[in-house]
Structures are given as structure tokens and as C-alpha cells.
Amino acid sequence: MSAPSAAFGTPKAPAGRDRKQQPDRLPAPEPHPALARIALLAAGLGLGSTTALTVTAEPASQLSAPGGLATFAGSLTGMTGTYLALIMVLLVSRIPAIERVAGQDGLVRLHRALAPWPISLLAAHALFLTVGYAQAARTGLWHEAGTLVNYPDVLIATVALGIMCFIGVISLRAIRRRLPRDTWWLIHLWMYLALALAVPHELVLGPSFVGHPLTRLVWSVLWAATAGLVLGYRIGLPILRTVRHQLRVVEVRSEGPGVVSVILAGRQLDRLPVSGGQFLYWRFLTLGRWWQAHPFSLSALPQPPYLRLTVKGVGTFTRSLTGLRPGTRVAVEGPYGAFTRYQQRRRRAVLVAGGIGVTALRSLLEDLPRGSAPVVLLRASRPEDLVLGAEVRELVRQRRGTIHELVGPRAAAVLDEVSLRRLVPDLNYRDVYVCGPEGFVAAIVALARDLGVPDDAIHHEAFAL
């Protein structure tokens, strides 16, 4: 009996252009780019409505009352702050239809860019309202703060604000850099608790909601639905898939210096809707590892009953994977990522991988149809780092493509405007897919842009390690 890894060693001949010829696997559903536009429009509509609700909640005469201006600023920052917090949660709620269009790295980037806003707005909200009420009551700030926490639900909202500010502080780049990734990530999940504590006081006291049952209903439904999405897609669906597929490690195989392939066996893998280039979060259920989930690309399309991921040992966790025992159960979340053949806008593509980025390239390549004539550029510092090289070569040959292996120190095997032009003369007629470490991806994307490839034809996925 041959080893399970043999199922991936010699890739099957590709299907033709007609995708219906591949009945042995459920293909990932096609992304609908219009959905991203609808979501953005809806997000804007919500922001505008929220602002308008605040403005119309009280008459303009209120502004000239003592503390009126600060109180209004407090309402506005509170309403927009919570609305942005809602958007923040939705961005990472893993709605599959949105993930397929925007890609998780895009969504997380947006989540990160937006993050300072809700926290500062909500801190400003507390400050403005205390000032406004103190001015109205002609008392001191501290005295007024003492009065305010006696309002219904305001004390727990204050605790929530404390949690948010703490998370905001540990997320400052200088501090976050010093924290272990998992520690930071686990602490930052407290944000869900903070939001659950913060929302009630808004519904009970907010001038936009008091006496406005419809607004209150809409706002409550919005938060409940968001909570439902998070529970369903971040917890429910992963549990369902984990239980359905019953994945176990069957083989751990060395692919090169520090690089291992983990081959898993499972049930009903034909029902896992995955495209080449996508990744999953893997949770190896052993004593030391069950609590951490790590994102790794599939390094090949599933070959039921097998799946394969290929990992380079760069951190404590990834290095420990060589010690995985066959039989270890594995929980999965995903697949995620928009780095798929669906993003292709033009007839031809060039695929560029730096280092271990070859894993995503390998499975993406497998998804490209026969005769697609891809150009593949593999970049590695040493010949032995060029993992999965043989498989990639075979896949390129089957698709009548071209492969260039750029091996050696950066100075020797340089990838610049001149060499890229020379290696891919028809660059401007191709989509550019880039995968690899962050720095590498950024450099190639900038290079492609400089050479006139439009943004919508550049697709990338960076591994943040």
C-alpha cells in the first residue's frame, strides 16, 4: 500500500475549460463581486442614518442650553462609535459570501484600519457627556461622573469602556509588538464582552431610542443579527465541518529543510467547498496545541479521502508540527480567502510565489484549466528551499505554461522591472497573482503596478508570521 502522500505527488491531468467535467469534488461557490459593493453601500447607509438619528433626536434649541453642545457631541460620538463597532464585528464575522469576494486578509486589514475609531469615539462619548451634564448641572466633573454611573446600565457600560480602552492600549503597535500573538489575540476577544455590556445603556437612555420604539427595535435586531452571524459562522459552521469531516493526521512528510507536509484523512471531503489558493484554520487536538488555531493554505486540492497542508517551521508552533503523531484529530475552520481562480479578469495569468508561498500557488495552479498557459515564477534563496518544485513543474507542463525558478541570494536572482519584463513579456495582458511573506508580496505588487498592471488584475495573499 502506498503512503497517503502519494495521492498528491503526481497531480492528475487538469480538467478542460468546462468545469463541469470535474464531478468528484464540490467546487467552492462562485464569488459575487456585487455583494461587496452592496455591503459597502449598506454600511454607508447605516452610518448616515445613525448620524441623522442623532441629529434629529433633540431640537436645535437644546444646543444653546447649558452643556448642550457637549451633550450633543456626546450623543453623536456614542452613536457613531457603536455603529462602527458593529461594522468592526461584521468585518470579522466570517460571512462566507463576503469572505469569498473580499478575502480575509482584506477584511482583517480593514478591521485593523478602522479599529482606533470606535474606541476613541466611545471614549470621547463618555467624556463629552460628563462635561455636558456637569455644565448643565453646574457641578464638577467628578461629582457628575459619580451621578452618571447611577443611571441604569451606565456602570456596566463604564466597565465596558474600560475593557475597550485596555484593548486599545495593548493594540498600540509599540506594545503589541512585545506581546505574544496568542496572548494579544485572546485578550482582544474580550471586546465581545465589552460590546455586550455597552449596548444596553444606549437603548435605555439614548435620546435616539427613548420614545422611538421603531428605532430601538431596528437597533436591537441589528445587534442580535450580528451576534447570530458571529456565533453561526465563527463557531457553528466550524464545529459542523469538523464533525462532518472527522479529520485525522495520517502522515507527516519532510519536503525540505524545515518544511513539512501534513496529510490528513477525513470523511466526505468531496463536500468541502474549497478552491485552489484558499486556506483554513487548523487546530491540532493535542494537549499543547488544541487551544490555538493557525492559518495554513492547502498545498493541493483535496484528493478524497486526503487533504494536505505544507508548513514551514518558522515559529515554535510550526516547528513543533514535525512531531505530530498519526491519528491526531484536527478541527478546521474555513476555507477562507479570495486568492482563487475566480479573481482572474484576463485570459492569462502569471503566478509569483516567494518562499513557502508556493503552497497556495501550487493549489491555485491545480485549479487553472488545461491550456491556460500560466507563467509561474518561484523565488527561493537556496535550491533546497524550492519545495514542491517537481509538482509545480508537472502542473505547469500539463497546462502548457512556463516556469522560471529564481534561486539564490536576492542580489543574484533579482526580480526587478527589467527581469520581470524579460521573463513575462506579455505581463500587461495577464492577471498577477502573488503569494508569500509580507515584504515579498508588497514588493512584487508595487513592481506590477509600476509596470502598468491595474489594481483589479493584481491579486495577493500575504502570510503574516
Partner: protein
């Protein structure tokens, strides 16, 4: 990316104007803090009938002596002689009307014949604020009073209603 920003911006403008447009017609009938509604027709079952209470101590729940104001349950527009009733003022978390007793050129009492609130907390706030506000009006002999800490909305509504009552009586 740029197109996305425009979509969000366009949506925001549309949402803002949309809600503003929807709000207009509703504002005349629905609660809009500070809107002054005239007349006694707004009195409902929640109204505090101050029957036994005197004008001086009209905070709901507080008992006090004093014979001045004891309006009937069904009318708030006309109080006893020597009193003038202000309009029902809606302040978002509830609504209230004041009745001012005037003797010669002095304000001798303020009562609250109408008060309805949205929830228990606002009721407590009003219970606390109204005696203070009454005291302030009597001391100032006008509606130019300071808001009670933590009960800004109640205070403003109170002051507004008292001012309107004083205007009605051509006080000073």
C-alpha cells in the same frame, strides 16, 4: 478601493438625507424633546392627580400641606383661581406640565398636575428633581433656574412650562 470609499460616502449621504426626510413629518406628532404642546387634551391615565397635595410640594410622591391647587382629575387647563397652568412639555423621557400659583406680584407655589415618564428611572429622577426645581422657582421668583444635576431634561421642561405659565398670566 477608491470606488469602495465613494460607495460608503454615497450611502452615508443617502442614509442621512433619507432619515432626515422621514423624520420631518413625524416630528409634529411624535416625541420631540422640547416641543411645546398646548392644552389639556394630552392628559392620560398616567397623570398624577395631585388632589391632596399642595402647590408647594408638588413632587410626585411627596406629600405636603397647602390648599392652593387641587385640580380635578379631568381638567388641567383651568386650575383654581389664582393659578395658571403651563403647557404640557415633552422632554423625551417623559412629559410634564406645571401650574403656578400667583398672589399679587409673587409666585407663591408651583405644582405639577401632569407628569408621565417613559420608565422607572425617569420617574425617580423626576421625584428627586421636582421639589428642588419648585424651590428654585420660588426663590428666583422666575423661571430662570438652574438644572438639577442628572435631570437636565426634566429641569428644562419644568422651566419651559413655568415660563409659559408666567407669560400666560402676564407676570412681570
Amino acid at each position: 478601493m477608491r470606488a469602495g470609499a465613494w460607495l460608503v460616502l454615497g450611502g452615508a449621504v443617502a442614509g442621512f438625507l433619507g432619515v432626515l426626510g422621514l423624520h420631518r413629518p413625524a416630528s409634529s406628532s411624535a416625541l420631540a424633546g422640547g416641543t411645546v404642546t398646548q392644552g389639556p387634551g394630552t392628559q392620560g391615565p398616567g397623570t398624577q392627580g395631585p388632589g391632596t397635595q399642595g402647590p408647594g410640594t408638588q413632587g410626585p410622591g411627596t406629600q405636603g400641606p397647602g390648599p392652593t391647587a387641587s385640580p380635578g382629575r379631568t381638567t388641567t387647563a383651568a386650575g383654581p383661581p389664582g393659578t395658571v397652568t403651563g403647557p404640557v412639555v415633552n422632554y423625551g423621557y417623559g412629559e410634564l406640565a406645571t401650574r403656578v400659583a400667583i398672589s399679587g406680584s409673587r409666585i407663591t407655589g408651583v405644582s405639577v398636575p401632569v407628569i408621565r415618564v417613559a420608565e422607572q428611572f425617569s420617574q425617580e429622577l423626576a421625584d428627586r428633581a421636582i421639589p428642588v426645581l419648585r424651590h428654585e422657582v420660588l426663590a428666583a421668583q422666575s423661571a430662570h433656574i438652574q438644572a438639577v444635576s442628572g435631570a437636565t431634561y426634566t429641569s428644562e421642561a419644568y422651566a419651559q412650562s413655568v415660563q409659559a405659565a408666567l407669560d400666560k398670566a402676564h407676570f412681570k
